[in-house]
């Protein structure tokens, strides 16, 4: 009876084991890279908003503090979105004829909120509170990037759990002096000795790494 497989098939069989291992490795690596890619995390994705609002213009150029609009960032879980009346504080006079601002005026006239597109959308099984991060000295820019230089806001970070944990394991590098929390362009290397003392004291007040990385800190 003739052999079904050629003698060389032995080598192919042996090689196929190695190839399978390599392929599994490549597939595993590809999976981790695709899962972290901006394609899946929406990182760097600029969204079309109903109004062409520029954070760079309002915060960077005009110097309006973050808290002028995001009033509850120090006191509540949500940073707070400004009501249309807040827009009209200035735009009742400035650019009051601009067609770009028609959605704002329509919102004010009809008493209907502007429907902004959410840029930073955490999954709802994750608990996040802005106020505690501000109180502990984490600046806006640590998560949101240099908003004051973003004409249209995009998601600076992946917002994945590994990214949250990286800071919860070692928060010290992201603690700022109180005066620089809302300065999104602050350079850490420009820290003054007095500020360094303040930051060092603040770091001592932080909870332990074990507590900060326990499940129920974020999943409650």
């Amino acid at each position: 009876m003739a052999q079904i497989f050629h003698r060389g098939a032995n080598n192919i069989a042996k090689a196929s084991i190695a190839v399978a291992i390599v392929l599994a490795g490549v597939a595993g690596y590809a999976y981790t890279q695709i899962a972290r890619s901006s394609y899946l995390t929406n990182q760097y994705l600029e969204r079309q908003q109903p109004v062409q609002f520029s954070h760079k213009h309002h915060t960077g150029d005009d110097g309006i503090d973050c808290r002028y609009c995001h009033t509850s960032v120090e006191t509540a879980a949500s940073a707070g979105m400004p009501s249309t009346q807040t827009c009209m504080n200035c735009h009742s006079q400035i650019w009051s004829d601009s067609p770009y601002l028609e959605p704002v005026r329509a919102s004010f006239r009809d008493n209907k909120p502007i429907e902004w597109e959410r840029v930073h959308d955490l999954p709802e099984y994750a608990y996040f509170n802005h106020s505690i991060h501000i109180a502990k000295g984490v600046g806006c820019a640590s998560c949101h990037g240099d908003i004051a230089n973003m004409p249209s806001v995009y998601q600076e970070n992946t917002l994945q759990m590994e990214w949250c944990l990286a800071c919860h394991r070692d928060p010290a590098p992201n603690i700022r002096p109180k005066s620089e929390i809302y300065n999104t362009s602050w350079d850490k290397n420009e820290i003054t000795p007095a500020q360094q003392t303040e930051v060092d004291a603040k770091i001592k007040t932080l909870r332990s790494k074990e507590l900060l990385t326990s499940c129920s800190i974020c999943h409650r």
Partner: protein
């Protein structure tokens, strides 16, 4: 013979019932399956309202609801009229105030019959510091760093507000500043939904500090008095006076 026939009939009847049950069972499965797929939610998008979420239920589309009118949150009856309105106990709402008009077209109030003269809470360094911080968030954009009305928004074209550093506002009672922050004045909108009560008084105290800084010789002439008798809540931590942050309702 008859018996066996009967038995057969019974058997086929049993079979029929079984088939019927099977059919209905399958139909029920399909029916429920159709509904489970229609109601599927992922854990990351749960069927509950979060702040600023859109609602399909309420006519205006907002999940964050306003308080029903007339309700008073526990502990927020606001009985202390001086603290919450900056006005005297016997204030007359129909009183005529003297007004003038400045070069920018602002209507300036020159008499303040209803406003309280004294701070309704202790003026401490913490209060003034808090006021400085809040002033630089909310007021500096128009009123400028020292209150001369030369803020960035004014440079962008907004009407120049009156300066804090003239005799009219130096002699104005503190209740007037509080009233303007709370209810707005002229082209300035109300800031009541953005600044809690205690922070408004902190800002007023900082405005007084600015007025002193721009006119040091008249320190004693300023109506900066404080009898320290009022036991008002401390300013920095006063979440009870921030309805704007509760559930995002405005």
């Amino acid at each position: 013979m008859l018996k066996s026939k009967l038995r057969l009939q019974v058997k086929s009847k049993k079979e029929k019932v079984k088939n019927k049950a099977r059919f209905f069972g399958f139909a029920f499965f399909l029916f429920t399956f159709a509904f489970t797929t229609a109601c599927r939610y992922d854990m990351q998008d749960q069927p509950r309202y979060k702040v600023y979420k859109k609602s399909d239920f309420f006519a205006d589309g907002r999940a964050s609801r306003d308080l029903p009118s007339g309700t008073v949150p526990r502990g927020q009856l606001r009985e202390d009229k001086a603290l919450y309105t900056g006005k005297k106990e016997n204030a007359d709402p129909n009183v005529q105030v003297a007004t003038t008009t400045d070069a920018s077209g602002n209507t300036l109030i020159a008499s303040f019959p209803n406003a309280i003269e004294e701070f309704p809470l202790p003026v401490t360094k913490e209060l003034v510091d808090r006021g400085e911080e809040r002033y630089k968030v909310f007021c500096i954009v128009c009123h400028g760093p020292v209150g001369n009305g030369d803020g960035m928004i004014v440079r962008r074209g907004f009407t120049k507000p009156p300066t804090f550093n003239d005799d009219r506002l130096r002699n104005a009672p503190v209740g007037h500043f509080y009233d303007v922050i709370t209810n707005g004045q002229g082209r300035m909108n109300s800031y009541a939904s953005m600044i809690p009560v205690a922070d408004r008084w902190a800002i007023v105290s900082y405005i007084r500090a600015l007025q002193i800084s721009q006119n040091p010789s008249s320190v004693t002439a300023l109506p900066m008095t404080n009898n320290n008798t009022n036991t008002a809540p401390k300013p920095a931590a006063s979440p009870t006076t921030t309805p704007a942050t509760q559930g995002g309702a405005r």
